[in-house]
């Protein structure tokens, strides 16, 4: 209490030092006046009274000094004086200051931007309390094959487990919004009532639904997500109590969620999950997701072992459905982040860190030059009695001020970069990235940039400052001293900085080039399908009106006929997943007359396509036939399998004529299908290096509710959009056509994340390269300036300008060579380590390594050409005279 009061008093005194000094002055004067008056009253003369008064007072100067120390905060005052001094010094050297601050701003800016992105989407994609205790529980079929959860299994878990405070269940569905002018799709998250309490998510407006509303017939209430509320209702606070019409059902809006609640990130509305009795008793329909909150003190491992025991118990109680199934508990955060995002962001963060190192090296080089120029100043101050530590304090304060100024610029740079990131991200992709809308320069980003600013100032300034202080006082103070040259040791340090800059930029450029090359090959991996010439869009048939196979099959038949009739359309087909679209799902395969081995599962990609699909995408038929018009709802269901499927499940045998079924046995959709053909392999994923086995079914026989349309065209695909809308609206005007774009755009969307990584690495590499070029230019220019006397002497002794040119370039070549070689060593090592991240390119790609080495060497020699020319054009007589 006492301490705080004193501290406050001392602190507040800092703000009116001048007035307090004046008052002290006056107070002491009055003291002396009183004393003098007293002494005079005792009969002393004026002069004697004054002397006596001063004697009894003690040393006036010491008292004042002691008083001031007592009054303020001495440490703080020294720092603030250094701070002001540093500002003055920097103001006097505008060229140096601007260059350094800009360099630092770029380094700090890119780092802050990348940190903000990582903070928002990896570290805290959901700003919800105690997120580390929230887990997902999935079912596991066999080893490592995770599946969604069956409703009855969830009910059993809920009753039998002790590890969780609560377990919630949810599923997703696409619904069409019927009251808007144009038909629109919304993503609904059907959740149990406890979903919100498990996530500790509270509504921004209104309320969430409760368990009494998660019952069929009472479930006509909706909670809006923050983003949807903003987009669709313009953030109107009076929305609660109004209604929203989806799939011909009217829901009353009871609440709006907080912005921080972005799980699932795609959800536009939350609706009560109200299972019917048969749905609740189903153990084979694996289509729900379970999230739970661990009890305090329970670890993920403990919950996992409990769940395994429960799963075993269920397997023996319900062998038909649960044999071979287990349960997997995982932290929600890991699940949201997935495997790749954190890895890529770390890769970018590492690259950006290297940029900061290059920046520091550059600034250090500038500081060395400045240190040499400042020698006279430092010499004079040393001669006047300034201690080494005080001088070092000054110089370091200057660096920290530079760092902080750089941070201010950096924050502006970061704000612009983040804005560019935000506007270039398509909405359709952003909704899958939890936390994307949370990216901002928040307090953590500010703290981060402050910390790296001080750190960068310190790192880049320490060595130059120590060097600047190591001067020979006598030499320095002598008139006409050679102020422009540094010591041999300084040169060695500067050379090392230049070399490391080149090394880091080689590393950055090679890394970015490998990434971009991989990116490029991935962008064109689907070129065989002529994605530029194709239009795609997605359709979900509303369950309420398309409630039978007949109705769905009829829709597909009519819609495809109408689309094929449009001018400019060569093929119109549907498929549940497009090649390389990362949209396919795998399913269990059963083969007739081949009993399943318990615990051993056979699976294949499950695809439903229209008859002309293979022809439209030029997928060759290996044997048998493709689908044709004789395959109907009333004929024997047929299937076409991929080449790999045939190899894996019918080795050395002809699969045609055999019967297979997809899905688990009691599922009504799992019908026996006769294999009628084998087609070539198609890869439906990006990252899988080998094509998974696939089974194709006919949309006319087993119509799905969700498909992608694919139209190949003769002209520009997007020009067809309006005629496609009109053609399909003529059949059913309430079907939403989602994500209409070219197939190429569709493919690019799945690469958005990688594209960002490639762009950021390229930006990093560009900055690194630019700074390295500036760095080597600076070193060479300085070398020439320092050695002009030597060069002049050599020329007087008979060397010709060509020799001088060669001498300087040789030096540049040595520095560059050393940098490039160490850069290649670093790049090779890092490329090996991160090989798994660089799809479509080998980590030791000689073309990339050689061309980049050549390019960087050329750049370094090119920027050294200027200084070298200057060396060659030195006029010997003038150079010697001016020295």
């Amino acid at each position: 209490m006492d301490g705080i009061r004193v501290l406050l008093a001392r602190f507040s005194s800092l703000f009116h030092r001048r007035r307090l000094d004046r008052e002290l002055e006056e107070e002491l004067r009055s003291h002396l006046d009183f004393a003098i008056a007293d002494h005079r009253a005792r009969g002393l003369s004026d002069a004697a009274a004054r002397t006596a008064a001063l004697r009894t007072f003690g040393g006036v100067a010491q008292i004042k000094e002691g008083y001031r120390r007592q009054r303020g905060l001495p440490m703080f005052e020294i720092l603030s004086r250094d701070f002001q001094y540093a500002l003055r010094q920097l103001w006097k050297a505008p060229g140096f200051t601007i260059t350094t601050v800009l360099t630092l701003a770029i380094g700090i800016g890119v780092n802050t931007a990348v940190f903000s992105i990582m903070d928002a989407i990896v570290l805290r994609p959901l700003a919800l309390p105690d997120l580390d205790r929230v887990v997902t529980v999935a079912e596991e079929q066999g080893r490592g094959d995770y599946k969604q959860v069956a409703m009855a299994n969830y009910q059993s878990w809920l009753q039998q487990s002790n590890s969780f405070e609560d377990l919630a269940i949810r599923s997703n569905a696409t619904l069409s919004l019927s009251d808007a002018g144009e038909v629109q799709s919304v993503t609904a998250g059907y959740t149990s009532a406890n979903f919100f309490s498990v996530l500790r998510a509270t509504p921004l407006l209104g309320r969430v639904y409760d368990a009494s509303e998660c019952v069929p017939g009472k479930d006509n209430v909706a909670v809006l997500s923050f983003a949807f509320w903003n987009k669709h209702f313009g953030a109107d606070a009076s929305v609660v109590g109004r209604t929203i019409r989806m799939e011909d059902h009217v829901y009353s809006i009871v609440g709006v969620m907080q912005k921080s609640m972005q799980y699932p990130s795609t959800a536009d509305v939350f609706l009560p999950l109200a299972p019917t009795a048969p749905q609740a008793a189903n153990r084979t329909f694996h289509s729900y997701l379970v999230v739970g909150r661990l009890r305090a003190g329970v670890t993920v491992q403990q919950a996992q072992s409990e769940m395994r025991v429960i799963a075993e118990r269920l397997a023996s109680a319900y062998p038909a459905s649960n044999q071979g199934w287990s349960a997997k508990v995982e932290p929600l955060l890991d699940k949201i982040n997935g495997d790749y995002t954190p890895m890529y962001i770390r890769l970018v963060l590492a690259a950006t860190g290297f940029v900061l190192l290059v920046v520091c090296a550059n600034v250090a080089n500038l500081q060395f030059v400045r240190g040499i120029a400042r020698r006279p100043e430092i010499a004079v101050r040393t001669a006047l009695g300034a201690g080494r530590n005080r001088l070092l304090g000054h110089l370091m304060m200057e660096n920290i001020v530079l760092g902080l100024l750089g941070a201010v610029g950096g924050l502006m740079f970061a704000a612009i970069s983040l804005h560019l990131c935000a506007i270039s991200m398509p909405d359709r992709v952003a909704r899958y990235v939890a936390g994307w809308s949370n990216i901002s320069l928040n307090g953590r980003a500010l703290a981060f940039s402050f910390a790296i600013a001080v750190g960068a100032g310190f790192v880049s300034g320490l060595l130059p400052a120590l060097k600047a202080l190591r001067i020979n006082l006598v030499d320095q103070l002598k008139a006409g001293s050679r102020t422009t040259s540094g010591s041999r040791q300084t040169h060695r340090l500067r050379d090392m900085f230049a070399i490391s800059q080149i090394a880091f930029s080689v590393l950055l450029v090679i890394g970015a080039a490998l990434m971009c090359k991989g990116m490029w090959s991935m962008l064109h991996v689907a070129n065989v399908y002529q994605p530029d010439q194709s239009l795609t869009f997605a359709v979900t048939l509303p369950e309420s009106r398309y409630n039978s196979d007949e109705k769905m099959a009829a829709w597909y038949q009519t819609s495809l006929e109408r689309l094929r009739g449009l001018p400019g359309v060569t093929h119109a087909e549907v498929t549940t997943a497009l090649p390389r679209g990362e949209d396919s799902w795998s399913d269990n395969v059963g083969i007739e007359n081949r009993p399943a081995v318990p615990g051993k599962f056979q699976s294949a990609a499950h695809l439903v396509v229209s008859a002309g699909y293979f022809q439209a995408l030029h997928i060759p038929l290996v044997s048998g036939r493709v689908f044709n018009n004789s395959d109907t709802l009333r004929s024997q269901p047929v299937a076409i399998v991929s080449h790999r499927f045939a190899e894996r499940y019918f080795p050395g045998d002809n699969p045609i004529g055999h019967r297979i079924r997809m899905g688990s046995a009691p599922d009504e959709k799992a019908v026996w299908m006769r294999i009628v053909g084998v087609v070539s392999d198609v890869n439906y994923e990006w990252v899988d290096r080998e094509d998974a086995p696939a089974v194709y079914m006919n949309v006319a026989q087993l119509p799905p509710a969700y498909v992608n349309y694919l139209l190949t065209t003769t002209g520009k695909p997007l020009l067809l959009a309006s005629s496609v809308h009109a053609a399909l609206a003529g059949i059913d005007s309430r079907i939403a056509l989602n994500a209409m774009q070219t197939y190429q755009q569709y493919l690019n969307e799945s690469l958005t994340g990688l594209l960002y990584v490639a762009v950021m690495l390229t930006v990093d590499a560009g900055i690194g390269l630019l700074l390295a070029a500036i760095g080597i230019f600076g070193v060479m220019a300085n070398t020439v300036a320092e050695r002009s006397r030597e060069i002049a002497l050599r020329m007087v002794m008979g060397a010709n300008p060509q020799d001088m040119l060669r001498m300087i370039l040789q030096r540049a070549a040595i520095l560059t060579g050393a940098g490039v070689v160490s850069g290649i060593v670093l790049a090779t090592a890092l490329a090996r380590v991160s090989a798994s991240l660089l799809f479509g390119v080998s980590p030791n790609d000689p073309t990339v390594f050689l061309s980049i080495t050549a390019a960087i060497t050329a750049i370094a020699l090119l920027v050294s050409w200027g200084p070298a020319r200057r060396a060659a054009s030195i006029d010997p007589m003038r150079a010697i005279r001016t020295e």
């Binding site: 009055s30 009894t56 007592q70």
Partner: protein, 111 residues
């Protein structure tokens, strides 16, 4: 700062507080003179050292200061006890007596 000056410092603080308690508002010179008189000049005090002590007491909120005019109409800074300081005197006296008693026990001839 050594232990010796700490004790002295505390002593000086208490002398100032006690002076202000008995004399009412007083300027720095007045306080210094009063202390010299009460101690019958046994204390060789540099009068100037009174000022850091006054500042310290003021920072703690035990005394407050105000500019005013002396009897001779000279402008001077007058110090007076605050309410907090009045309470503090009791504690300081207690502390001092305890220290003095302890010292007395040490210095008493052992028997």
């Amino acid at each position: 700062m050594g232990d010796k000056s700490d004790v002295l410092q505390g002593t000086l603080d208490l002398m100032v507080l006690k002076t202000l308690e008995s004399m009412g508002p007083l300027h720095g010179y007045g306080i210094a003179r009063r202390i010299e008189q009460v101690s019958e000049n046994a204390l060789s005090l540099n009068q100037g050292t009174i000022y850091p002590a006054l500042l310290r007491l003021e920072q703690r909120g035990w005394i407050k200061s105000e500019w005013g005019a002396s009897e001779t109409n000279r402008r001077a800074k007058f110090y007076s006890l605050s309410r907090l300081g009045r309470k503090q005197i009791e504690k300081e006296i207690e502390n001092w007596e305890r220290t003095a008693a302890t010292m007395a026990r040490f210095l008493a001839p052992s028997n």
